[in-house]
């Protein structure tokens, strides 16, 4: 669990914009200058990158689906929060895949 925490904290520092895309309540459709459509598109893009690396986390697509439903229902703040979470997950999955491309070797059993 400590490793996971470290990983997530490290990723938060590594990712430009991570944690900066705050949701401002009371401004439907806009969060820190980004509309739901912008964030959703960015999340889809990040997901496509992770998919290409064959490393998608299991909750990410569901978050995007929920974001779409929330947006359609007019729950804009919630929709933006969900899409932002999906984008973050997809970006972290990509970083994980890149890091693991070599790091796996350090775990192989050997004499």
């Amino acid at each position: 669990m400590n490793k996971l925490s470290t990983f997530l904290v490290a990723c938060a520092f590594l990712l430009p914009g991570c944690g900066q895309e705050t949701v401002s309540s009371g401004s439907p459709g806009h969060a820190g200058g980004s509309s739901f459509a912008d964030i959703y598109a960015a999340a889809e893009q990040a997901l496509a990158v992770a998919e290409a690396k064959r490393n998608v986390w299991s909750k990410t697509e569901g978050l995007l689906r929920d974001a779409k439903v929330a947006n359609a229902d007019g729950r804009i703040d919630e929709a933006i929060a969900l899409a932002t979470e999906a984008k973050l997950q997809a970006e972290l999955a990509s970083i994980q895949a890149d890091t693991e491309a070599e790091t796996w070797r350090t775990r192989v059993l050997s004499n």
């Binding site: 998608v56 299991s58 994980q96 790091t103 796996w104 350090t106 775990r107 192989v108 059993l109």
Partner: protein, 278 residues
């Protein structure tokens, strides 16, 4: 307890390192030494019984379950399906060596013509396709039942998966499976080895974690939590889900290569499938 943890840390520390470039047989030997060192009281063939090799209470429950094996119906269904002719009059027996009887130990194998690893389940669907029959779903149902019957006829045979040293593509497939096994994935950031090497024998919530050695001996499996029989790749998909990684498609290249690596690690153990698990 602290001494046990210290001993475990020393054992893991002795073995985990720069084995990334080792060949298949060296990998298998090291893994064998690791588990036999960690579980010195467990006879080698017992590893084919998973956690029941070293969890006495779970073993007693498992032996009781085996009095009326929950996979028996799947074997009977599988035999009936296996022996039913296709629309063209041919049958599964026409697709496999020895009429498909007692051959599971040869799978997975690297098909040099196809340039890919072929698992038994893939071969079953290849047989269907060659006879103009529709593919069956890979994880449960009829295909799992046919696989269960074929495993049953192979009980007692020794796993003998080959990675041809003179075929770079076969070695690459093996290496790809090995990479998948040691790669962390999912939101929980776990590799297969996190549970089944580092933590093998320890408890994860209410379950004791099994060893990689013996993972490929006993499929398909009737799992009580599934309430039905399922293939090894169903379990791999489930493992992915448990660490919050999106599972890949059944029989994807990655899963077949992983199965190639996993099964090679159990070379020399006797097949004992189908089996029952909690």
């Amino acid at each position: 307890m602290n001494n046990k943890i210290l001993l475990l840390s020393v054992i893991i520390g002795l073995f985990v390192g720069a084995g990334a470039t080792a060949g298949p047989e060296e990998d298998r030997t090291v893994m064998l030494e690791y588990y036999t060192g960690r579980f010195p009281d467990v006879p080698l063939q017992e590893f084919a019984n998973g956690l029941y090799a070293f969890d006495e209470i779970a073993r007693e429950q498992w032996i009781e379950m085996e009095d009326f094996p929950p996979y028996e119906i799947a074997i009977e269904d599988g035999q009936a399906l296996f022996e039913s002719p296709f629309a063209n009059g041919k049958s599964y027996a026409d697709c496999f060596d020895n009429g498909g009887i007692g051959i599971r130990q040869q799978y997975p194998h690297f098909d040099a013509d196809l340039g890919e690893v072929v698992t038994l389940e893939l071969a079953i669907n290849q047989c269907r396709a060659a006879n103009d029959e529709e593919s069956l779903p890979y994880l449960i149902g009829d295909l799992a039942a046919i696989s269960a019957y074929m495993s049953y006829t192979s009980r007692g045979n020794t796993i003998n998966v080959k990675v041809p040293q003179d075929n770079p593509s076969a070695l690459a497939a093996y290496e790809s499976g090995k990479q998948y096994y040691y790669t962390r994935r999912g939101q929980l950031n776990f590799a297969c080895m996190s549970c089944h090497v580092q933590s093998a024998g320890l408890m994860l919530r209410a379950d004791r974690l099994s060893t990689t050695l013996g993972h490929a001996t006993h499929w398909p499996v009737y799992r009580a939590k599934w309430g039905e029989i399922g293939t090894l790749q169903k379990r791999i998909s489930e493992c992915n889900s448990q660490v919050f990684a999106k599972p890949l498609q059944p029989q994807s290249i990655e899963y077949r290569n992983l199965e190639y690596f996993l099964t090679y690690m159990s070379n020399g153990l006797e097949l004992n499938g189908p089996a029952s698990r909690r």
